[in-house]
């Protein structure tokens, strides 16, 4: 009875005022981001997903060096400067003074950031005997994925504001690794306090960083609330509150953007792009993604060990038509194995021309007749390939015109990755999204000899190419490295272990009142520096 009494007037009021409920984000300087999913956690060192980084490293933490917002260029952050020894093996970082950690319910910092925090953040992932190594079931995927355990020989605290990383070999991309999410700096003082309190896993659940925002509340699958860090070393953020409204469906995200329930949304539906372009309330930003979608030939299997066969098949493919059909305007033809947003991209490379007649002739010259093969198509959507099945069908049709019969094969995603790693395919569709904006992260990871049997799906090991990319790892002069990578791209093109297919175009719809938002080439969403009109 009581409940009815309470509910009835409430329902009535709701019914009457329903028209006013499409509430717009009116409160002073609260920016709402309709994020696509829940983060896996708040310690970026455990994970590899962009969704997790958006909610953790990109708002809560800083790194020693960071990428300038909107570029792949590395710049000083918690380290004010650094020097590299002549043998390329010792990196000395001078740390910034007066950097404050967040004050939270659980923790009030008593000192500023210093070298101990840097040591803690890396030692935790590196040293198996570290008290925090196994906390929260720690598996440091990226730290391991970037071969950091093999690379780091020692970490030395020289004084409270100087720290040295000693490497086992010269590795020029190291400095770019320092800007990655796993290299986020966490508070050693907080960790000590929690360890003493017997609750070390709090460090990963209630994060404390130096970043521009601090965590206020998180409700799984519903929302994350941040507020600006008042004492942020680079100056307080222009917005006061940052809310992630977790919205998994892309069409629903667009409806929310339109209704003013959020200001920025990631990953729009390709089908909505046309409407977004016309929407007066929306600014549709676009940029090439830091990725490449490719078809890798298994160069260990006949007849694909012959570069001319691979080139011929490349020439039989009508890439422009494929990209129109598969990406619907959200993709660009790739001619190099690295995307144009990465430095050293070689614009002088000539793409293989679409020429089925010549392709037929080249196949005949190579003695290939009635070739029967397969095309593996990924079962999932990826930024670099939103519809692998459709892509495979179009390649199949193109190849049929030059007398090649291809069967389309697919597996469950985990199985697909495993089998293609083992080289069970003839040709496989796959792609890569860059980690640190360094060309090495594409060329060595995907095409280097060490990666055969791993992420080198072409199983391709070429001496000329390998020498170039290995040399580029050891020189730290950017100009010299650029030249080596440019040459490597030409060698790649001439020997064609892949058909380079596409780079995605990233669309970012934001409301007109959002000022100074920049698309992050790494696919992240960074809200420091963003303002609202």
């Amino acid at each position: 009875m009581k409940i009815t009494k309470l509910l009835l007037p409430a329902i009535a009021t709701a019914a009457i005022s329903i028209g006013m409920l499409g509430a717009s984000p009116a409160s002073a300087k609260t920016l709402v981001f309709c994020s696509e999913g829940s983060p896996e956690g708040f310690n970026p060192a455990f994970y590899t997903a962009g969704t997790t980084f958006d909610a953790s490293s990109r708002q809560l933490f800083n790194k020693l060096a960071e990428f300038e917002r909107g570029t792949t260029k590395i710049a000083p952050a918690l380290a004010e400067s650094w020097t590299v020894s002549n043998d390329g093996k010792t990196y000395t970082f001078k740390l910034r003074k007066g950097v404050k950690f967040h004050t939270t319910k659980e923790f009030t910092p008593t000192r500023d950031f210093n070298a101990e925090d840097v040591l803690f953040s890396f030692a935790r992932q590196w040293d198996k005997n570290h008290a925090y190594f196994a906390v929260s079931g720690g598996s440091y995927e990226y730290f391991n994925g970037m071969s950091m355990p093999d690379l780091i020989k020692d970490i030395v605290v020289v004084d409270p504001y100087t720290i040295q990383f000693v490497l086992n070999r010269p590795e020029a991309p190291f400095i770019a690794n320092m800007g990655m999410d796993f290299a986020s700096i966490t508070s050693a003082e907080y960790a000590d306090k929690m360890m003493k309190a017997g609750t070390p896993e709090m460090v990963d659940q209630k994060p404390v960083g130096t970043g521009p925002f601090q965590l206020v509340a998180y409700q799984k699958d519903a929302m994350i609330r941040f507020k600006a860090h008042p004492a942020y070393w680079a100056g307080k953020a222009k917005i006061d509150d940052l809310v992630f409204s977790i919205t998994p469906d892309a069409s629903v995200r667009y409806q929310k953007l339109k209704a003013g329930e959020c200001h920025v949304m990631p990953y729009p539906n390709p089908a909505d792009i046309a409407a977004m372009k016309k929407d007066p309330k929306v600014n549709l930003m676009e940029q090439e993604g830091l990725n490449v979608g490719y078809l890798a030939y298994n160069t260990k299997k006949a007849p694909f060990e012959n570069a001319n066969v691979r080139l011929a098949l490349n020439m039989a493919m009508n890439k422009a038509a494929i990209i129109d059909a598969v990406f619907q305007g959200a993709g660009k033809v790739a001619k190099n194995p690295i995307p144009p947003t990465i430095w050293s991209y070689n614009d002088a490379t000539k793409d293989d021309a679409y020429d089925p007649e010549k392709a037929k002739k080249m196949l005949a010259d190579a003695g290939v007749k009635n070739l029967k093969t397969n095309i593996w198509a990924m079962p999932v959507q990826r930024p670099y390939n939103p519809n692998a099945r459709r892509m495979a069908e179009m390649i199949q049709a193109d190849w049929a015109k030059v007398g090649v019969t291809a069967e389309i094969v697919s597996f469950e995603w985990g199985e697909y990755l495993k089998r293609s790693k083992a080289g069970e395919h003839d040709t496989v569709l796959l792609g890569w999204t860059g980690d640190n904006g360094d060309p090495d992260n594409f060329l060595a990871v995907l095409l280097g000899c060490d990666a055969v049997g791993g992420s080198n799906r072409a199983q391709w090991c070429d001496k000329e190419f390998e020498d170039l990319i290995q040399k580029a790892k050891t020189v730290s002069d950017p100009a010299a490295r650029t030249k080596l990578y440019e040459d490597a791209q030409l060698v790649f093109k001439a020997k064609a272990p892949w058909a380079t297919i596409a780079h995605s175009v990233v669309f970012k719809p934001i409301r007109k009142e959002v000022v100074d938002f920049k698309i992050d080439p790494f696919g992240g969403h960074i809200f420091y520096g963003v303002d609202l009109k």
Binding site: I11, A217, K220, D221, D249, L417, L430
Partner: protein
């Protein structure tokens, strides 16, 4: 007077009822063991494992893969893992999520109230519309009302939730601007959850407009999730009514000259309700399945969305724990339905 009345009640009603209850609960035990086996093996039968999915294109070396599998204890023989799962279960421990490192039971308990709130609203909606519509349609068979209800029910039943949900968002939120697009409450309101039920929490928070915001966020998902059960209930009620209305005792009641309302409410409805109650009970399973889609569309932070994510991430512990909890809930609801059934129809409780 009272004591005199109680003794026949004991012998006639309570003891058979109690026996009936015992036999039903007894049946639950083997069922529950069966469910643990299914919940445990189901996710492991899907190709791929959590480590591979986490690594993606990046891949992990076989050594690292083995090391991580060992860390989670997935390298041991399946029967050992299963026994460990069972023994932990007996201590009320569902284990820790592989991905979030949180206890599975905590995640379930945080998310479940959202699903329960939405499902309750949906089933209420389905009953409030479905029951009267079915009764009237049955009573006025062949009328325009009957045809309208049955056609609407058929359409409602055949409509995919995903499509209906999106369409409603575009119309009511996008074009008309009547309702919010998605979520449980406007981001303008924030308070610590007390019960996990947004309607109650928003009311308790005392913030002006919070309750109204929560209620308005419930409207579209309730309709999306409630439409199929509503259609099923309306059709079932109608056919049950038709059957009962042809019975001799109803004809007798009518012949006695009872007013039509009395015939329906007293004589026909109680008997017609028996299959309807079963149907409503069965809808709980349907609701939980529908919740997966509804929750994804309306960004509703419930267990449906959580299960889907966990399956994609091969989060073995979350999937097995979540499935078990969901199965347990469906089993308990069905038990309650069985008992209700006995209350409505005395023949059932006497024959076990």
């Amino acid at each position: 007077m009272i004591i005199q009345d109680l003794s026949p009640f004991f012998s006639d009603n309570l003891i058979p009822m109690f026996r009936f209850l015992i036999s039903r609960v007894g049946l639950l035990i083997p069922t529950f063991i069966g469910v643990t086996i299914i919940a445990f093996s189901f996710i492991r039968l899907i190709p791929g494992d959590p480590i591979e999915v986490l690594a993606g294109e990046r891949g992990v070396s076989p050594e690292r893969h083995a090391q991580l599998m060992a860390q989670f204890g997935f390298d041991r023989p399946l029967w050992q893992q299963y026994l460990e799962f069972l023994s932990k279960l007996l201590h009320g421990d569902l284990g820790q999520s592989i991905v979030t490192k949180q206890p599975v039971i905590d995640e379930f308990l945080t998310l479940f109230p959202a699903t329960l709130e939405l499902s309750t609203m949906a089933i209420l909606f389905a009953m409030i519309i479905g029951l009267p519509a079915g009764i009237i349609a049955g009573f006025k068979r062949g009328s325009i009302f009957d045809h309208t209800v049955m056609t609407t029910a058929l359409v409602g039943y055949s409509m995919p939730i995903f499509w209906l949900g999106l369409l409603m968002i575009i119309l009511f939120s996008g074009i008309l601007g009547w309702t919010p697009v998605s979520g449980r409450i406007s981001f303008l309101f924030y308070f610590e959850p007390v019960t996990g039920f947004m309607l109650i929490d928003s009311y308790l928070s005392g913030q002006e407009g919070a309750f109204r915001s929560a209620l308005s966020h419930l409207i579209l998902p309730t309709i999306a999730l409630g439409t199929i059960p509503m259609a099923v209930i309306a059709r079932q009620t109608r056919s049950a009514m038709l059957e009962v209305l042809g019975e001799d005792y109803v004809r007798t009641a009518r012949a006695k000259g009872l007013p039509p309302f009395r015939v329906i409410a007293i004589h026909a409805l109680r008997n017609a309700l028996i299959p309807v109650v079963t149907t409503i009970g069965l809808q709980v399973g349907v609701l939980l399945a529908g919740a997966i889609l509804t929750e994804t569309i309306f960004s509703w932070p419930g267990i449906g969305k959580w299960m889907v994510d966990s399956i994609f991430r091969r989060d073995y512990t979350s999937v097995q724990g979540g499935l078990l909890m969901i199965a347990a809930i469906v089993m308990v609801v069905n038990l309650i339905v069985d008992l209700l059934y006995g209350l409505i129809n005395p023949r059932i409780r006497h024959t076990r």
